[in-house]
Symmetry: C2
């Protein structure tokens, strides 16, 4: 619909405008886990809407709308999921539709519980922000040669832990681990003293591939269902001691948080933008033309215990990513590695080039050396117990706004 | 049973003696995927045996025996799975049992197809052989300081790709990837020239844990269901270029092969042995007393195209692992990372200290410099197309032999 006008009130600044309509898994009183679509301050119950005939023109097993995860729904393919979105959009603009006439198909967002949207089979974390990789390389390796020689030739990435990806709102237990205190050589075991967040975006794989086959970069976006906000919680002291030579492990695997609403890639079409020029030119299997980046405003806020307002500590944008998602997915399958629906690939920390556009505390505080000051005057070198980290993201252009809502997590004190 | 005597003929050197009885998932004509137990040259069909009342004294949903994976069966707990094994063992020694009297409950092994025994949620690969880590460190880093400073303080490990773990017999497509040819600085894209195997063992997690909790090392073995052979196929040239700073990725993720029969930990009790002394003493959360290693003979053979006999190229033993499985699992959960039933943790390449006890081509050929010679006179610096790699493993003591069967994979030529 070129200019859809919904019949229900949607706040002007809502992330969940009539142009968005992301998918998620919710439950509510009398409603077990099921597929929902966010609209303004409501959730459309797709399972019950299907029972009322909303999707009668489509041929698919409506049972997938009562699943615990979106995986089976996503597996129907973009043709089907796209039509479902169109039908919901049309019905939200047609006062005579079942969504308006039948009670209970719209549930107030305040009355629902959101769950993990997908069952993540495998999770991969990339490292695709030039600014972040440069900043980290300067701190941990050589300030003169911050980027390793492979970085501009391929989207560096590694496998992460899928089991500990949790939905926004889940509390995060401060991890224990082996840490070498400053000035010592031997490790001790105890709570991390350098708890960090990482501002990332992640995409959900929407189409499976077979082992031994590769996805050409020009077709890669067909395999991307949609995006979420992603907080790759990190324990920098654990990570520093353990990560050589095989990469991050327990410094990351205690938890990652995602926003509950998966915004389909098609929603983000108006916000396409060219990425940074890649020099040297990548090898042919990674060459993408046109606008493969997305202009999405991102921000991080911290809310301390007892404070009623979060402090924004960083603002940046997804449009700066050096390696785009199509390149990440094509690279991932270039060796024949098979993908499954629901696999998740995260961008890596997204940093800008300014002091206030950095995507983690490690960069914001220069590894803890220069604390940041919150609005309430409190200082933070690293995250403290009871701190809540809030990621937000939205795109806006020509009066159209679509957003991701929030990805929130509060830090609990470590277990003894 | 102290001295079980089966009524069916079991070859003297069978891996699947009456003392073993490992679990797997098989299918056969007229039988969809289901749980089986290996005995000699037969497979016991547990689903049909349950229908005939074999397990009537046990209270569990026999539907799990018709599952596509062992996960639900394993989730019943060792008390139940152990009793199932005991009942099968007893019935195999009791000529009047349904296994003897009713047709079709034993299927010839040559008539079944074996499948992935478990659905692997997350897969972790450790790096726990001192000899392997030392050899690799000498080749890739500093011969004088082969081991990094963390290696003797914690079981180094990293997350691997779960989706590409395949069952023995699955053919392995030679991967393409970015490679920097010797003497050049810029990468090219093409088939790996350094295809390798890695001889490993892996254990299957049998008990889930909650996020934010840790498993004490003394309880860790309760969470280990059983073991398989594991071939961590590796493309050394792809790995070398990509792995800094975040670890191995596409050099490994194209495939890993496992043996189809999961040998429960309880089967291996007679083969317990003390591991090497750990110096420095690990931190308290990693301290294990007693016999936490297992004396399992391992070997690798290569069979070339047209050759009717494989050449054994390495023999080693699982008893040498510096870090034991209890330590690996305790370390993995020490940060609160949650485990699920079916998660897989592999040992890392298992190498001995002799030239003919090394667990990968990288070590056997000194990174390709000194080819090995097969029985048929052919030389190999790395694996070639149509080579078949065969891993075998068995334990033997006081006339009792239990084995893992084979983990086999044949190399297919790369796709263009």
């Amino acid at each position: 619909m070129p200019n859809p006008k919904p019949w229900l009130d949607i706040p002007h600044d809502s992330d969940f405008s009539i142009h968005n309509l992301p998918f998620g898994i919710f439950s509510a009183t009398g409603k077990g886990k099921r597929v929902g679509v966010a609209i303004g301050e409501y959730v459309v119950d797709l399972a019950d809407a299907a029972s009322e005939g909303l999707f009668e023109e489509l041929q698919f097993d409506f049972g997938v709308l009562s699943s615990e995860y979106l995986n089976d729904f996503i597996s129907l393919g973009k043709q089907v999921t796209g039509k479902v979105r169109s039908i919901v959009q049309f019905a939200l603009c047609d006062q005579s539709s079942v969504l308006s006439s039948i009670e209970g198909l719209l549930v107030e967002m305040t009355a629902v519980t959101m769950h993990m949207p997908v069952k993540v089979g495998d999770y991969t974390d990339f490292y695709s922000s030039l600014e972040h990789a440069t900043n980290v390389g300067k701190m941990f390796r050589d300030p003169q040669n911050a980027l390793l020689s492979n970085w501009k030739h391929l989207p560096v990435g590694y496998h992460g832990r899928a089991s500990s990806i949790v939905v926004s709102g889940t509390e995060i237990r401060r991890p224990n681990g082996q840490i070498v205190p400053d000035g010592q050589n031997e490790p001790e075991f105890g709570p991390t003293q350098k708890l960090d967040f990482e501002l990332e975006m992640a995409f959900v794989v929407g189409k499976e591939t077979q082992a031994g086959t590769s996805v050409p970069v020009k077709e890669a976006e067909d395999h991307i269902f949609g995006l979420v906000l992603f907080n790759d919680w990190s324990a920098r002291d654990i990570q520093k001691w353990e990560y050589q030579p095989l990469g991050p492990f327990l410094g990351k695997s205690f938890a990652s948080s995602i926003s509950p609403w998966v915004v389909p890639l098609e929603v983000l079409e108006p916000f396409r933008i060219k990425g940074p020029e890649q020099d040297p030119k990548p090898l042919e299997y990674l060459q993408t033309g046109g606008e493969k980046n997305f202009d999405i405003n991102l921000e991080v806020a911290i809310q301390t215990k007892g404070d009623d307002k979060p402090s924004t500590i960083s603002k940046t944008n997804f449009n700066r990513m050096y390696w785009n998602m199509a390149q990440q997915l094509a690279h991932h399958t270039s060796n024949g590695c098979n993908l499954n629906v629901g696999d998740m690939m995260a961008s890596g920390t997204i940093s800008g080039s300014d002091r206030d556009s950095l995507g983690c505390m490690l960069e914001l505080t220069l590894n803890g050396a220069i604390p940041i000051t919150l609005n309430n005057g409190q200082k933070r070198s690293w995250l403290e117990d009871d701190d809540t980290v809030i990621l937000r993201g939205f795109a806006e252009k020509d009066g159209v706004r679509v957003g991701f809502g929030e990805c929130v997590g509060r830090v609990l004190k470590a277990l003894e």
